[in-house]
């Protein structure tokens, strides 16, 4: 029950915080075992990455005065100084439009959360080995194994494709808009949640489930009366937590699928409307924080 749930953004794997593991720490790094050398190698690759960037960039990083003026100029314009002035910040109708776009983004994220959550809850049992072909299985185990492998594959596929790429693919077959964007966000997060849900189901207390089986419950009844009551609180905390990831990604999906704050951001950037860009960023960050707050509250309640 007390699985620690990592709250940081976008981590599908909760970090395990056992003290056993912590106690073994120092030896690795004094002797530089495989993990230590891997870290060294990673840092060297990082240095190589920077070397490439320095060599490749003609702006000469921040060092050239041209680059510095350009940067300073950009921030000044964002803050509403220079050409165009700060008129936007005092324009109530602009804020009103932005508020509507924010609501669009929020609605979008909610639809996506609902789709991903429902999809994951419906399929997570099919991706749990104990129920499909393990000791709690019922009926044909070969078929169960096939279902297990198929569902796992779908979860892996959907979660390894990032939201934006889903959006690029989906606008091929769907008109850009709310549904295309929601589907793109939902697809990736469905995979993440489905995998987490399957793990929860695999770790569920099997004894009540055996009792249900022996009183004649089939798969659906087992799910309803045994599995869901046990895992729902945890799967809900994951779902609410994914909501934070989704609202954050809704901006980028929005600018591919033409909805919400993301789309407007793209337009305003391409028309060099700097004050509008700044206002949109403020609205975006506020909406991410709002969802963060609500989600933390909901996660506390769900537990």
């Amino acid at each position: 029950m007390a699985t620690p749930i990592a709250v940081h953004t976008d981590a599908p794997i909760p970090i395990r915080r056992s003290s056993i593991q912590a106690d073994r720490a120092p030896a690795h790094f004094l002797g530089l075992g495989f993990p230590g050398w891997s870290l060294v190698a990673a840092l060297m690759i990082g240095a190589a990455g920077w070397a490439f960037i320095v060599v490749d960039s003609d702006t000469g990083l921040f060092l050239s005065s041209a680059a510095r003026t350009r940067l300073a100029d950009f921030f000044a314009k964002l803050a509403g100084r220079g050409a165009g002035g700060s008129a936007g910040f005092w324009d109530a109708t602009k804020w009103w439009t932005i508020a509507r776009l924010t609501v669009d983004s929020l609605s979008l994220s909610l639809i996506a959360v609902a789709l991903a959550g429902i999809g994951a809850v419906v399929t997570m049992t099919a991706a749990a080995s104990n129920i499909t072909y393990g000791d709690l299985a019922f009926g044909n185990r070969t078929l169960g194994r096939a279902i297990y492998l198929g569902t796992r594959a779908i979860h892996i596929l959907t979660r390894s494709v990032p939201e934006v790429v889903w959006a690029l693919v989906i606008v091929f077959v769907m008109a850009p808009g709310m549904y295309a964007a929601a589907l793109a966000l939902a697809a990736h997060n469905y995979g993440v949640l489905g995998r987490l849900g399957a793990e929860l189901v695999e770790n569920v207390d099997p004894r009540p489930l055996r009792a249900l089986r022996s009183s004649g419950a089939g798969n659906i009844k087992l799910l309803l009366y045994g599995i869901l009551p046990q895992v729902l609180p945890q799967i809900l905390t994951f779902v609410f937590y994914r909501w934070e990831v989704i609202i954050r990604a809704s901006a980028v999906v929005g600018f591919v699928a033409a909805v919400g704050l993301g789309y407007q951001l793209r337009l305003d950037l391409s028309f060099f409307r700097y004050t509008d860009v700044a206002m949109l960023l403020v609205a975006y960050i506020l909406s991410v924080w709002l969802v963060d707050l609500v989600s933390v509250g909901l996660r506390k309640l769900a537990r």
Binding site: P26, G33, P35, I53, T59, L108, Y179
Partner: protein, 267 residues
């Protein structure tokens, strides 16, 4: 006979009300989104079929392979540079935000809170949005790519570092405190060694994510795999698309295996 039963009604829990509110919000969102009728675009299906068919026949011409290699190198460079930056920025910010440096002094508490807010700000903005903004500020420079990964990832790493340092069990630190160690010494000899294995394994897991992010964020024009994919898609060169996709999968799987090895040895 059932009188005793009707007296005791099922009580409505606050969570039930909340769930109803959520369901209502989702329903309203659907209403806002309008009818889903007509959003399907059947012509797209044939294009989709074509593009899927190309999956078995990726473009392996030397010229395209060279381009794929260059795009992969660029993507890797953004990810690697971004991760080092995230590491360099996330560690100090995370350590300060954890509040371990000075539990007693007041001015430091303000710094701690400020650090936490900065971390929140950095990670609130998606890396692709950072890329968009940075390309505007810096032009199409690869620096934008490195920073677009580094900035939000520093926010995420910093937050995780802060959480992990705070979660090192007090029992581990009590002995150090008892022997008169200062807060900094407790941090160096107690908290950091305690949290290090988890942090290193998290760092490697995050590196996988960084490669995926780097590939994707190059679509704003930064020349990585994602950018090449969008260009090839626009030209309807589906076979080229798949070569690029396979290259990305290859890199991600390689890093995935490496990262799994590291994590396996750490847990």
């Amino acid at each position: 006979m059932s009188a005793a039963l009707t007296k005791v009604r099922p009580s409505v829990a606050p969570t039930t009300i909340l769930n109803l509110v959520l369901v209502g919000a989702i329903a309203l969102s659907m209403v806002r989104a309008g009818s889903p009728a007509g959003v399907l675009n059947p012509e797209g299906l044939s294009a989709a079929g074509q593009s899927l068919g190309a999956a078995f026949n990726p473009d392996l011409a030397p010229a395209h392979l060279r381009l794929t290699l260059a795009a992969s190198g660029r993507t890797l460079a953004y990810a690697a540079a971004g991760m080092t930056l995230a590491f360099a920025g996330g560690i100090p910010l995370g350590v300060i935000a954890s509040g371990s440096l000075g539990r007693s002094s007041r001015p430091l508490t303000a710094v701690t809170v400020a650090c936490r807010m900065v971390l929140g700000l950095l990670r609130a903005v998606h890396e692709l949005v950072w890329a968009l903004i940075l390309v505007f500020a810096l032009g199409l420079s690869p620096l934008a790519g490195g920073l677009a990964i580094g900035i939000p990832y520093a926010g995420i790493l910093g937050r995780v570092i802060a959480d992990q340092l705070r979660d090192v069990p007090e029992s581990r630190l009590a002995a150090l405190r008892a022997s008169g160690a200062s807060e900094t010494q407790v941090l160096l000899y107690g908290q950091i060694p305690g949290a290090l294995p988890d942090l290193v394994s998290y760092f490697f897991y995050r590196s996988e994510c960084a490669i995926r992010s780097a590939a994707v964020l190059s679509i704003v024009g930064l020349g990585g795999i994602g950018y090449r994919i969008t260009v090839a898609l626009d030209d309807l060169h589906y076979r080229e698309v798949w070569t690029l996709v396979y290259a990305l999968v290859l890199i991600v799987v390689a890093v995935d295996i490496w990262s799994a090895q590291v994590r396996r040895r750490l847990t």
